[in-house]
């Protein structure tokens, strides 16, 4: 991470702002783009149809070095900066956001460990992810508490050297395939964040939920019934759990936002290609301003969103607090991706509504971006709170 902060400083400070990717980043982007085109895209439609978890793709991404980009090299990971990681995410999401989410869930679960874990904990839990293509999950949301994290009901009771945790979690991505979970629970000492093995007695994994989009991603309810967790698996101190869970988002919102950018770019490129081919009223439909203006709007938002994400990532790399930047990126990109996907379907017309064409999947996949990782409404709360606290 230190190395990237120095590179960031060089890029920003020498001769002012530089909007170009470095040679390394272009190589990373080329690799991810190639992987997406040759491996993810051919598999995406079938994965969407069946909802089967992309284990094989996950393994290939892992073997190619595209998984777990944020895990530092001392734990066996690629040790890439936030900026490098989001570059990968955009390319993978261009291929399929369901697959990308399955990969990104590792990032979400790992983030609290990176924020507050001891070296021991990092070696143990992050090391597992780099030694084998294992999955992890971030277990915070509950049936009664999504945006209202503070209202969660899972209880942790201290019993000597251990904690006993009970409660139910919902919408846990990678829930059915995870090797370990990050869990947030409430206790008499405040919120506590834990890492726990998925095969611990008392953990019951629910059925795979059938969702509107990103169908191959695995989302489940998880029940904790008197699950015993050793004190050595508490992240940070009891009482710090909420802060730890929220700080994780500063690192994970930029990649999620970039996923939305990747999806939007895909929808846009498909729409451009189609509008050049499709002829009605004696000409290609792109020759009509109604269509070309839609495409222009798509492109503007995609480029703008990308830079918002780069900004959020760079601030994180520089070690500065980036919360409102991350929220701005997430909110803007999610909202825009939904518009782009819906407009893409519109441009495809009747064909757009049909499963033989790629855009209806994009529209279904896009919706969740406005909901998970903090709803667009929560993001606006974060942004407005920040802006009202500033002196202008």
């Amino acid at each position: 991470m230190k190395r990237s902060a120095v590179n960031v400083a060089k890029r920003w400070c020498s001769g002012g702002m530089c909007l170009e990717l470095s040679e390394d980043q272009m190589m990373i982007q080329d690799l991810a783009r190639k992987f997406s085109k040759e491996i993810i895209i051919p598999a995406a439609a079938e994965l969407d149809r069946t909802g089967a978890y992309p284990h094989e793709l996950f393994k290939q991404a892992w073997e190619t070095g595209l998984a777990n980009p944020h895990i530092p090299s001392e734990y066996g990971g690629p040790g890439l900066s936030n900026l490098d990681s989001v570059i990968i995410t955009e390319e993978l999401a261009y291929g399929c956001t369901g697959v990308t989410t399955a990969l990104e869930a590792n990032g979400l679960a790992s983030a609290p460990v990176l924020v507050a874990g001891t070296d021991e904990q990092k070696k143990n839990f992050l090391g597992r992810l780099t030694e084998e293509p294992l999955k992890a999950a971030y277990c915070v949301t509950e049936p009664g508490a999504g945006s209202d994290v503070q209202g969660l009901k899972t209880k942790a009771v201290r019993k000597g050297d251990e904690w006993v945790v009970s409660g139910s979690k919902m919408w846990i991505t990678n829930g059915g395939v995870a090797n370990w979970f990050f869990v947030l629970a409430n206790s008499d000492e405040g919120f506590v964040g834990f890492v726990v093995d998925a095969d611990s007695p008392g953990i019951t994994v629910g059925r795979k939920e059938i969702n509107m989009g990103q169908k191959c991603s695995d989302t489940r309810g998880i029940t904790f019934d008197e699950v015993v967790i050793p004190n050595s698996q508490v992240l940070g101190k009891p009482g710090q759990g909420f802060k730890v869970a929220m700080k994780a988002f500063d690192k994970t919102r930029p990649p999620v936002a970039m996923g939305a950018v990747g999806l939007a770019r895909r929808a846009y490129e498909e729409a451009v290609a189609y509008s050049k081919e499709r002829k009605t009223f004696g000409k290609a439909i792109c020759e009509n301003q109604a269509i070309s203006f839609m495409l222009a709007d798509m492109l503007m938002g995609i480029d703008a969103g990308r830079f918002l994400v780069y900004r959020a990532a760079l601030e994180a790399d520089a070690g500065r607090p980036n919360t409102h930047f991350a929220s701005m990126a997430k909110c803007f990109c999610a909202d825009h991706a939904n518009k782009v996907a819906a407009d893409a379907v519109q441009i495809f017309g009747g064909n757009g509504f049909n499963s033989e064409y790629p855009v209806e999947k994009l529209m279904r996949d896009a919706k969740i971006y406005q909901i998970y990782e903090g709803t667009s409404q929560i993001q606006r709360m974060i942004i407005s709170r920040w802006l009202l606290s500033q002196d202008y």
Partner: protein
Amino acid sequence: VGVKHTVDYNIKVKVKDGKVAKDVKHSMNPFCEIATEAAMKLKEAGVVTEIVAVTIGNAKAAESLTKAMAMGADRSVHVVGEQAEIDGLETLQVAKVFAKLHEELQGDIYFMGKQAIDDDQCHVPQMVSALLNIPQGTFAAGLKVADDKSSIEVTREVDDGSQTLSMKLPAVVSCDLRLNTPRFATLPNIMKAKKKPIDKKKLSEMGIDLTPRVEVVECAQPVERQGGGKVADVD
């Protein structure tokens, strides 16, 4: 392994003022990727001990060397030329460079792509073979090195099927599409590749006669495809 840094296969090439527009995305020639993969397979089987990637091109061509090293080549040789020198380079001169490098490299097998996708000349492997007076196995779709490593069997794709030739080493092998599927250069290997050595040589200082033997008379875009027409009948 000879690798060429060519116009990326995704790019639609345009002709501007009688010249092909060159400031577009470049990457390793796809057949050269296959050649690199062929060499890597032999290295992994313990048959080959060292892979040297070679390119002749401008400064940016080093990217293809990094790609080859990311795929597993141990080191590279970059014969660098100014853009004008490279633009005027003909296949005979390229072959001469390889022949000259053989004095130093003493390669046992020279792997190359069957042709480069920018000029599609398909000359260099054959010319290198002639200049060095060593055998050639072109359009390789299969290959097998003899146990005593003194010869190689190359199965070639020919117009009416395939043909297998056995030839003594050293030899030149040019690789065709069906030989293998090139591996992805993994991210850790891409990072490692940047530390592998690249030996730079100046094209102009290699003592090779670069006078052109070929004159370009005209360069034009292919005629635009006209729509088909309906005929009344087939007679």
